[in-house]
């Protein structure tokens, strides 16, 4: 009789801790998914801004067609990557888009009339803010991935993670060449 009671108590405790740990993992995974959707929203917001910016700029600069084409291509590539939903591919495509955007913004420097355009100014504030938002969303996402991955790897949650196939998430990295190399100054 006492044996049965002890057995039952142990089973109940085990079951309860299983539920608690399982719920913790699900909670962490949901935070990861939610912060990924934040990045997603901001990346798409940037895709929407780029055509507007290009249209406004085209009126002022007739001879920079090549730059526009590159940006448009990079945008299309990034969009298809994001539709697939692979974190690493999105990171690579976003880096590519970043580079061509930076090039386009550089060419804008040569057109003071364009820079004085009210519409262009507000578009540029939107674009730079969206880029900040992507960076901050990446920060928040990577933080959440860190705590989720830790839970997946560490005892005792790792037992439940392997039983219920919780997999580690990828970090979102945008490789920026300029940040690694020292800036070149030309006169």
């Amino acid at each position: 009789m006492t044996f049965l009671v002890i057995f039952l108590v142990v089973v109940v405790i085990l079951a309860l801790s299983f539920f608690a740990l399982y719920n913790k993992l699900v909670g962490l995974r949901n935070i990861v998914l939610n912060s990924w959707s934040q990045i997603d929203v901001q990346l798409k917001r940037r895709f929407d801004l780029i055509p507007n910016l290009v249209e406004t700029a085209k009126g002022y600069m007739k001879h920079e067609n090549e730059t526009f084409v590159k940006v448009t291509e990079a945008r299309a590539a990034a969009m298809s990557a994001i539709n697939k939903g692979n974190v690493r591919e999105v990171g690579a495509a976003a880096a590519n888009l970043d580079a061509s955007l930076a090039k386009m913004l550089m060419t804008f420097e040569n057109y003071p009339e364009l820079k004085a355009n009210q519409n262009f100014m507000s578009l540029q504030e939107e674009l730079s803010s969206t880029e900040n938002k992507i960076a901050f969303a990446r920060q928040a996402y990577n933080d959440s991935v860190m705590s989720y991955n830790n839970a997946v790897e560490m005892f005792p949650t790792n037992i439940i993670a392997s039983m219920c196939s919780f997999k580690q998430s990828d970090f979102f990295e945008i490789e920026k060449k300029e940040e690694k190399e020292a800036p070149k100054v030309t006169f």
Binding site: S129, F136, D143, M146
Partner: protein, 464 residues
């Protein structure tokens, strides 16, 4: 990582608990002074009830009261896109579920505060002076600091503590008046006198009435200051750009005074709106905020460390302020840190250029422009007949012809040197006399500064 901070409040809770005990003891004492038998319990219950009712009012109406009394105007993405964007950026970085409402108050004073006792209804309020005078990075630092108050649930915490402080002050006033009144009137109302009028009990009650509010205030300011440092640390981590906040603090320190603030809401401001000015150490007991130059010193060192993390902030905090844990080890470990980000590209060169243009126009119309050793530019109108000019900042006499120092006033040797670390941000450092804080603007290019209190000359060196 941010979830952990919320649990990191044991020390603050302990202090709050002490304040609670103090309040209960005080109200119990009042009860005792009225009714010697059961008055203790009734009094204690009354004190707790008083606090609970006030806290509930603050909980449900607090934000609305603050905002509606001050004629705050709501900011939409259309009315002020940059401010709205900055707040949204910080909301994303902090991982908050709900976007705070943004308000602007018309005031030339530069300040900002956060309200929001309930997490799903928060607001950040800035003054128009703040938006006009700060650049994007600086504004972002300030917003991040306010966002940190929301994230760390400081508003809730400080409201409860503030209400408790208010209750204690109120009760001790009542007790003080009661004791004096009962004492002077003892003969006629002997039975209702305090503790039957026993002198020892009266003394204890008097001491309690005098020291309880002082003690409560010290408790309150201890929590408040810690929360400010914590909000700075969190803000630096969120923006990955500590110098932005440091530079904003420099600017705000000069004119943070805002006229619409009550004492209870003061801790929610980025810089204490009641005690603006350089030397805050002297009135430490009345200050809800740590001295600004210390906050700036920590942030500047964090910037030059190259990596922002809560752990690095903790290390510098221990060096600069005191050996005490701002955050538990679990939180510090959970934060691996991030690289400092680059400065935002925006109008960085515009404002200096505007000044230079102004100078050129003035020079063309016959103005004489003298540059004093302290860096101040003095513009003399063509009609001026003076041969000597007294510099309005450092009080040295300059020759109106050459702008060189008048030999008589050029005095003592200088030994003190301050090396500037950045030419794009505001910088400050305390004088050796400890009574004055020098502030250097990004435009400052003088060779010397002179302390306004003790007259010490400090040489300024520039990078490169």
């Amino acid at each position: 990582m941010w979830e952990l901070i919320e649990k990191n409040k044991r020390k603050s809770l302990l202090v709050l608990f002490f304040m609670f005990i103090l309040m209960t003891a005080l109200s119990g004492a009042i009860g005792l002074s009225i009714e010697p038998n059961y008055g203790l319990y009734w009094g204690a219950a009354f004190g707790i009830l008083l606090w609970a009712v006030q806290s509930l009012v603050a909980y449900f109406l607090g934000d609305d009261i603050v905002l509606h009394f001050n004629m705050a105007v709501v900011v939409t993405p259309e009315s002020s896109p940059q401010l709205y964007n900055i707040v949204e950026e910080m909301k994303i970085a902090a991982g908050l579920a709900v976007m705070p409402e943004i308000y602007i108050v018309q005031s030339q004073g530069m300040n900002a505060f956060a309200t929001g006792i309930r997490p799903n209804k928060t607001a950040i309020c800035v003054t128009s002076g703040l938006v006009e005078n700060l650049n994007r990075d600086e504004l972002q630092g300030v917003i991040a600091h306010e966002m940190s108050h929301i994230l760390n649930r400081d508003v809730l915490f400080m409201t409860f503590a503030g209400v408790m402080l208010g209750t204690i002050t109120m009760l001790s006033n009542a007790l003080l008046k009661g004791t004096i009144f009962a004492n002077s009137d003892r003969r006629s109302r002997r039975k209702r006198g305090i503790g039957g009028g026993h002198p020892a009990i009266i003394l204890i009650l008097l001491l309690l009435a005098i020291f309880a509010p002082i003690l409560a205030r010290i408790f309150y300011f201890t929590i408040s200051k810690k929360r400010e440092y914590l909000a700075d640390a969190t803000a630096a981590r969120l923006t990955r750009y500590p110098i932005g906040l440091a530079s904003a603090l420099e600017k705000i320190a000069k004119q943070s005074s805002v006229d619409f603030v009550s004492k209870i809401t003061a801790p929610m401001f980025i810089v204490n709106p009641h005690f603006a000015g350089g030397d805050e150490d002297s009135i430490f007991a009345a200050s809800t905020h740590p001295p600004i130059y210390k906050r700036i010193a920590i942030l500047t060192q964090l910037q030059h460390g190259g990596t922002v993390s809560l752990g690095n902030y903790q290390k510098i905090y221990e060096k600069e302020v005191e050996k005490s844990q701002l955050l538990s080890n679990a939180v510090l470990k959970a934060d691996s840190g991030e690289k400092i980000r680059q400065q935002s590209v925006e109008e960085t060169a515009q404002k200096p250029a505007a000044k230079a243009v102004e100078d050129i126009i003035l020079a063309n119309s016959g103005f004489k422009i003298l540059t004093c050793e302290c860096g101040l530019k003095i513009k003399l109108p063509p009609s001026s007949m003076q041969t000597k000019i007294k510099c309005p900042r450092c009080k040295r006499e300059l020759s109106a012809e050459s702008g060189k120092l008048d030999t008589a006033s050029a005095g003592s040797e200088t030994e003190l040197v301050f090396k500037r670390m950045s030419l794009t941000a505001w910088e400050s450092f305390p004088c050796q006399c400890g009574k004055f804080t020098f502030q250097l603007s990004p435009l400052f290019r003088g060779t010397y500064v002179v302390c306004k209190r003790c007259g010490t000359k400090v040489k300024i060196e520039y990078p490169g």
